[in-house]
Amino acid sequence: MAGASTRSGMSAALTLIGKRFASSLLTLLLVSMTIFVIAQLLPGDAAQEALGQSATPEQVAALRHEMGLDRPAHVRYVSWLAGMVSGDPGQSLVANMPVSEVIAERLPNSLLLAALSALVAVPVALAIGIGSAMNRGGRIDRALNIVTLSMVAVPEFLVATIAVLIFSVKLRWLPSIAMASSDMGWGDYLRGVAMPILTLSVIVIAQMARMTRAAVIDQMDRPYVEMAVLKGVAPVRIVLRHIMPNAIAPIVNAMALSLSYLLGGAVIVETIFNYPGLASLMVNAVTSRDMPLLQACAMIFCAAYLILMLIADVTAILANPRLRAQ
């Protein structure tokens, strides 16, 4: 019986993944078109930016030709799209390397930082959210509320800078810049990213904790919770065994939304800690008008968002026996 429903759960999830894949492609196409159109409105192009202040018109024209920027916009878009479909995101105009190589260097950094931040933020947010829900209206609840509010109330660059002043400049415990390089040990790496993780976590924890609290409280008024109380079930068991399976779907959804920020939203953290991630790469791509790179970054961020949303939906299906059966 249980086996059957798990199987049908898997097939329901697979159907959903299939459907999502199609609509995701549509979303990606839309994103690429939007980015392309807006980028056309940007003043200057890669050739001008590369040559800078000292460019002469002839030089710019020559470089433009070399970069293929002298072709009409729609031709460039179509050829980019054709390349993308065949799995080739093209050549970076500025770095003179295939986009895939440029990205390959930064993407693992970004993913690692996001994953580590999520690893810190998710349990903390769950603990805060569940803790304050169980204490609804009580002193701990109010205290945690103020704490989470204050966390979002400070601009992230200030949080980051204060952290650097305390932990690197004053105490010298942690490095102020988070270099990520392949020849680094895990210990060094973790020390380096400790503060970026801290800063990113602070930003997302508050939102996730508040959503967790709301989702848990929403379940607390349900009759089955009263029933559990009247069965003599202890409060912690009520939350973990009775409420969580029902609250997990909205919580995961909220978390997926927050976590999608960890990739693209990390631009300030990447700047302050000099962490070579994707967000600052995308900013680079904007300022240097490196269209293929910009597009590739946008595609990755969009795909990451869609994947997170898909994970949230699949979780919702697997957590809910009713959806699982469908």
Partner: protein, 277 residues
């Protein structure tokens, strides 16, 4: 009207009253601040930079020797005004689209939802960077960017609410009465979404304040010599090491503003829920 508002305020829990007081305070600063500023916002009045507190300069001087108090009083209106306007714009747009999707069926819902996915998936700060680079920095553009960034979030919430409400019996009654979609959306569904939407509005407000300060880090913001609160923090960040008032004051201002709005919203949500029971 006034009396009932007053009574409602009295019924708020303590945290709500604190929130209300903070919100009123910052609204007042936003409106009257520039009149109260002792010095012009761009005037170089102190010989030294990052001065501490003094009788002449209550909050000291900034990185160029300007009066921090005056800049704070003048800058609050940008943060409060811009965030409020953008939150309002985001909420109304998001809600209008959500209602359209809720009463319009899958044909409207699906493309709108894809569009929102698209907006949400482009990192907002980078998107802002592109837009500012393309169109130049102006208050109007900042407003649009902030609004655009937070439309999808509002849309998600409003759509979930509206789709639920569209199934309610009273909506079915209205449909069976022969009412048009517009009437159903505006008269039947919308009034019942106001409460959660207000709460959402508050959250958006806070996010926008923080987005604006984030943008100021990237050099996008209000035109000098004026500065919003985030820019004030940013431009004085080099004073952080010496604990300059010039950076602490605007940081505290942002914190009290956002915490105040949140406390107020939490309290309103609480008493609103109590009433429903």
């Amino acid at each position: 009207m006034m009396a009932s508002a007053f009574q409602r305020a009295k019924a708020l829990p303590v945290s709500g009253k604190v929130g209300l007081a903070l919100v009123i305070f910052w609204l007042a600063v936003a409106v009257f601040g520039p009149m109260l500023a002792p010095y012009p916002v761009g005037a170089f009045v102190a010989y030294d930079v990052f001065d501490g507190q003094s009788a002449k300069h209550w909050l000291g001087s900034d990185y160029l020797g300007r009066d921090v108090l005056s800049r704070l009083l003048s800058g609050a209106r940008y943060t409060v005004g811009l965030a409020a306007a953008a939150a309002l714009l985001a909420s109304t747009t998001g809600t209008a689209l959500a209602l359209t999707a809720a009463v319009g069926g899958a044909k409207v819902d699906e493309p709108l939802s894809r569009f929102m996915d698209m907006l949400i998936s482009i990192p907002s700060k980078i998107f802002s960077l592109v837009l500012v680079a393309a169109f130049g920095s102006s208050l109007g553009l900042l407003l649009l960017i902030a609004a655009f960034t937070y439309v999808p979030g509002n849309y998600r919430i409003a759509r979930a609410l509206a789709v639920n409400l569209a199934q309610m019996d009273y909506v079915q009654v209205a449909r069976a009465r022969g009412e048009g979609r517009f009437h159903i959306a505006i008269a039947e569904i919308l009034p019942n979404m106001i409460h959660p939407l207000l709460a959402d509005f508050g959250l958006r407000f806070v996010f926008i304040v923080l987005l604006l300060s984030g943008l100021s880090f990237l050099g996008l913001g209000v035109q000098p010599p004026d500065a919003d609160l985030g820019s004030l923090v940013r431009e004085n960040i080099s004073g952080l090491g010496e604990g300059a008032l010039a950076i602490l004051a605007p940081a505290v201002a942002i914190a009290t503003l956002t915490v105040g709005v949140n406390l107020l919203i939490d309290a309103i949500g609480f008493s609103g829920k109590g009433k429903g029971r």
